[in-house]
């Protein structure tokens, strides 16, 4: 179960057929205190790179993009009542949504943890 990363600071973790998507610790730090998360509804389909969610902090708002094409199966309801979770555990408990991927193989095109770390350093 490997986690991959996008240039727009999302992470995606595939477990069998279902992939879990969230934002990276770096992104959460850049945003500052998260105050609101707008999540997609189960059943919605996205192409890779399409806007799937929005995360708002006091001073910024960021679009969250679907790393790969697929259909949303679940949104993380816990974030609605407690958006602060995103600042506490962005790469674990504060996942945004789960989706059934159109092509699980496409995962390998995304950055590995090391590649992402290097990407952020260079930014």
């Amino acid at each position: 179960m490997e986690t991959r990363f996008t240039q727009s600071h999302e992470w995606i973790r595939l477990d069998g057929e279902i992939a879990t998507v969230g934002i990276t610790t770096y992104a959460a730090e850049q945003l500052g205190d998260v105050v609101f998360v707008e999540l997609p509804e189960p059943g919605k389909t996205f192409a890779a790179g399409a806007q799937a969610a929005v995360v708002e902090s006091v001073k910024a708002a960021s679009e969250i993009y679907a790393p790969l094409s697929g259909e949303v199966t679940q949104a993380n309801g816990a974030l609605a009542g407690d958006p602060a979770k995103v600042n506490v555990d962005p790469e674990g408990e504060a996942w945004f949504f789960k989706m059934k991927l159109k092509d699980g193989g496409a995962l390998s095109k995304l950055m590995t943890k090391d590649q992402y770390t290097a990407f952020v350093k260079g930014a």
């Binding site: 205190d33 105050v35 609101f36 708002e56 006091v58 001073k59 958006p83 602060a84």
Partner: protein, 514 residues
Amino acid sequence: MMNAQGRPTSGEAVIAADAPTTSGHRGLDHEEKLIFEIGRSHVTGVDLPDVALDEFRLGGLARKHAIGLAGLSEPEAVRHYVRLSQRNASIDASFYPLGSCTMKHNPRLNEKMARLPGFADIHPLQPQKTVQGALALIAELARWLKELTGMPAVAMTPKAGAHGELCGILAIRAALEARGERRTRILVPESAHGTNPATAALCGFGVASIKANDDGRVDLAALEAAIGPDVAGLMLTNPNTCGLFERDMIAIADMLHRAGAYFYCDGANFNAIVGRVKPGALGIDAMHINLHKTFSTPHGGGGPGAGPVVFSERLAPYAPLPLLVEDAGGFRLIEDMEEAHGQGAQPLGRMCAFHGQMGMFVRALTYMLSHGADGLRQAAEDAVLSANYILASLKDVMSAPYEGPCMHEALFDDAFLKDSDITTLDIAKRLIDEGFHPMTVYFPLVVHGAMLIEPTETESKATLDEFIAVMRAIVAEAKAGGVDRFKAAPQLAPRMRLDETKAARQPVLRWKPA
């Protein structure tokens, strides 16, 4: 007879200045509750006859329940609002170097003239023959705006700068439609004010960002590459949001016009060039003017503003209703689309009810008449001089991303703080303790930790020197490793730093009874 009731001539005991008081007030600084916590529903500060109605012609729609409003007697109301006012910074009381806001002195003659009954007590729909003076004033202000900008037409009704931007972009859309064209994109420099892309999106355009060159101006090559048959226009602020004059305005205008596109100019920074440069000579097609910036109408804690828009010949036909014309019968408003068509105009619609921000028109014209052409020119020159004076006096201890000269505002970034724990925000909050309203911070977004300082022309050199000395001292302290006084700031304001996260996570947007 000597007064035998002796009183000591000097203070007997010294109490620490920050010792708590029983009341919670501190001398002249008062804590003040909400009106709902002070007022009572049966109290009223207005004497009105209690007219009993035993027969309502209200169609059965009379209110069934109380509203829940609190009332105050006049003395309670005056005390409440005076105390609240004392918790506000204002340009009347202190230097307010807010970049891009043009916090200049608000002349009181403006207020006196706006309150003349002949202006304040006239209804927008009373017969036009009874308001010829008002229409003449609007026409005269329009004339000044056209003359100062070198543009042939002006739409007077937009209620604020952003509203003016909307008017301008709608005019561009209307012009394209009249040509039978449907273009889908508006170009905006990456340093643009947020209202620019928001306006473009409101008008149904996609937004493409143009990067700046190393000189802080629009990158001409990037612009050329971005211009195509689907581009409706460019929205550019000049001087730009970094406080720099866009040298290539004419080349940019030519590029756009050759491609059949339009050139919208955001006039927020007009104070730098008013009376000295006509934007019309730079090839623009439309420009909104913030009367509450360049022309001294008061900011009022956030509004009202006024944002008339000047138009080129290309866009003039699309100016919104109402149109103001003068003929043998005097001044007349054309409020009907068909009548406007009969005059050869194709108004894009109507931006708002009635005829525009008359109260702000009176104030702005009063200001213009006071300054005259020579005074306005001097104002622009002094504004630019003062900003450059600040830039020259601080750039050795702070970091300026652009060499200079700047126009009416000086831009710094936070590079000079990189070896400290101090942020731009900390500098701003510390300035509050020092008695200054902070400069604009974190705008424009193209520079890290931006600090944009616009002194305007209404500050004395003594004030500028004081500000410079204070900034130099603060910066030295930050670089020397000072932290606590910054992080704890402001400590001398009515409130310390407020929890904005809590305000957004658990919004409480009104008082509710317990």
